[in-house]
């Protein structure tokens, strides 16, 4: 692992004004990286929470700052909002005497595939992958980003490995719809991994309702939403279904953040 005592790392998350768990994984990854001592300073910043993107640079003492978006794909936030709010005009920008190095989002790193495999194995221990349909669930239309493209890319990579009986991309708001999971899959076991950066309304409530493992949404997500993961496996529609936490809660994300910094340096070298 590299050591950058004279640099700061800023991990950028979306955050939420409704969901108290939204920023948790981003803080968790920051804490893990701070523990490793890889950077002189580690900060988080959010679009919807504080520290905001407009505040965070004031909190950094170091002159060299790596910014890594904790986002699942390139898209509106990584290409428009974050550069605009931080005042960036390219991969490397001088902002008020500081050098800001803008790295690729975590979700586009090739290691994402390994993390999805790890998550799928952990949620369904002892279940034969060959007799399992693995679903990677993205949001689909409605969000101005490329998360559906990213989910498809991961599905193709995992499919090529030939480990699972089936690997399927499905979405909340566009076809193929995750609500039709039983029609889309043929294996006796079904593993569903939400391709999201944090647990929240989508993973606690919306997807469980679409899967049929929870009744209608009780409202804004709360800490109690986590209960949906404790009841695996679900037996319904003639199958055994395992439902995982959002991929962004995977601990390995901290390493992916470091990898994106290393990739920035390699590209700049």
């Amino acid at each position: 692992m590299f050591s950058k005592p004279d640099s700061a790392l800023v991990i950028v998350g979306h955050g939420s004004t409704l969901n108290p768990d939204s920023s948790g994984p981003t803080w968790g990854h920051a804490d893990a990286i701070a523990q490793l001592g890889a950077f002189g300073e580690v900060h988080c910043a959010f679009w919807k929470e504080e520290p905001s993107l407009r505040q965070v640079l004031h909190c950094v003492n170091k002159r060299e700052i790596y910014v890594v978006p904790n986002f699942i794909s390139e898209g509106y936030f990584t290409q428009t909002v974050i550069p605009r709010e931080l005042g960036l005009d390219g991969p490397q920008t001088n902002v008020a005497g500081r050098t800001v190095k803008y790295c690729a989002p975590v979700g586009s790193h090739e290691r994402m595939t390994d993390l999805l495999l790890k998550r799928a194995a952990a949620v369904a221990p002892g279940v034969s992958p060959k007799e399992t349909s693995l679903f990677i669930v993205g949001h689909g239309t409605g969000l101005n980003d490329n998360s559906a493209v990213a989910a498809k890319r991961e599905v193709e990579r995992i499919r090529a490995l030939g480990i699972f009986g089936e690997v399927i991309a499905a979405y909340m708001e566009e076809a193929p719809f995750i609500a039709k999971w039983d029609e889309l899959s043929t294996q006796p076991n079904v593993v569903v991994v939400p391709f999201f950066i944090a647990d929240g309304l989508h993973s606690y409530e919306d997807i469980p309702v679409l899967l049929g493992i929870a009744s209608t949404s009780p409202g804004a997500a709360s800490a109690t939403g986590a209960g949906v993961f404790a009841q695996n496996p679900y037996r319904l529609r003639g199958r055994t279904l395992f439902y995982a936490n959002s991929i962004g809660t995977e601990e390995g994300f901290a390493e992916v953040i470091l990898d994106q910094v290393a990739a920035f340096d390699a590209a700049a070298a």
């Binding site: 004004t17 409704l18 803080w27 919807k48 407009r54 505040q55 004031h58 428009t80």
Partner: protein
Amino acid sequence: MMDTNAALADWLDKGGRQIGQITIAKSADGWELRHIDDVGREDLCLYTITADARQLANLDDAGAYRALKTAPNLRHGWRLVLPDVATVHSALDAFYPAMIGVQLARERGELTPVNLRDTLARQTGMYRVTQKLTDEQAQSLIADSCRCDGGCLKIILWRISEELPVNSLPAEKFTVRGQNEWPLLCHEACNILVAGARKVVKGEPKEG
């Protein structure tokens, strides 16, 4: 640039004792933070690591999520004992994110307030529509969302536009208080206010 820990240590040395709703006291084990309303209480729950601060800051007394950390609804009933200035700094960053850094930037002359019109002009996507907010709507939205009693404790440093100050809140909303209180500064309208502006323009109800 002065290290932020050193600047905080300097402020504490000079008698700095309050930030937002938190009071800071020297204790036998280092420093003790508690809610300002809880001074004198003996029945407080003891916490001892900075990571606890993030949890304490996240929910109010009723267990509701505090999206805006400078809202005047910090929960009661705890005290946080920390060994040194560095851990106090981390805890304060959790309770009042960015507020140490923003004030120090101001002291260095590096903090540029951004007027509301410029903040709204920068918005894209679903928030672009906020550019249609009238001055009148802006005054009333700010009066409602930013008011110290029930809204937000920050001191506003920006104006609606170069020509138009915010005139819908009392003078104290714009005035930094004494040395012993670390100021919570708003140098640019937050995303919550921008989201509120969108609701006003779209004629949506305030809540929900």
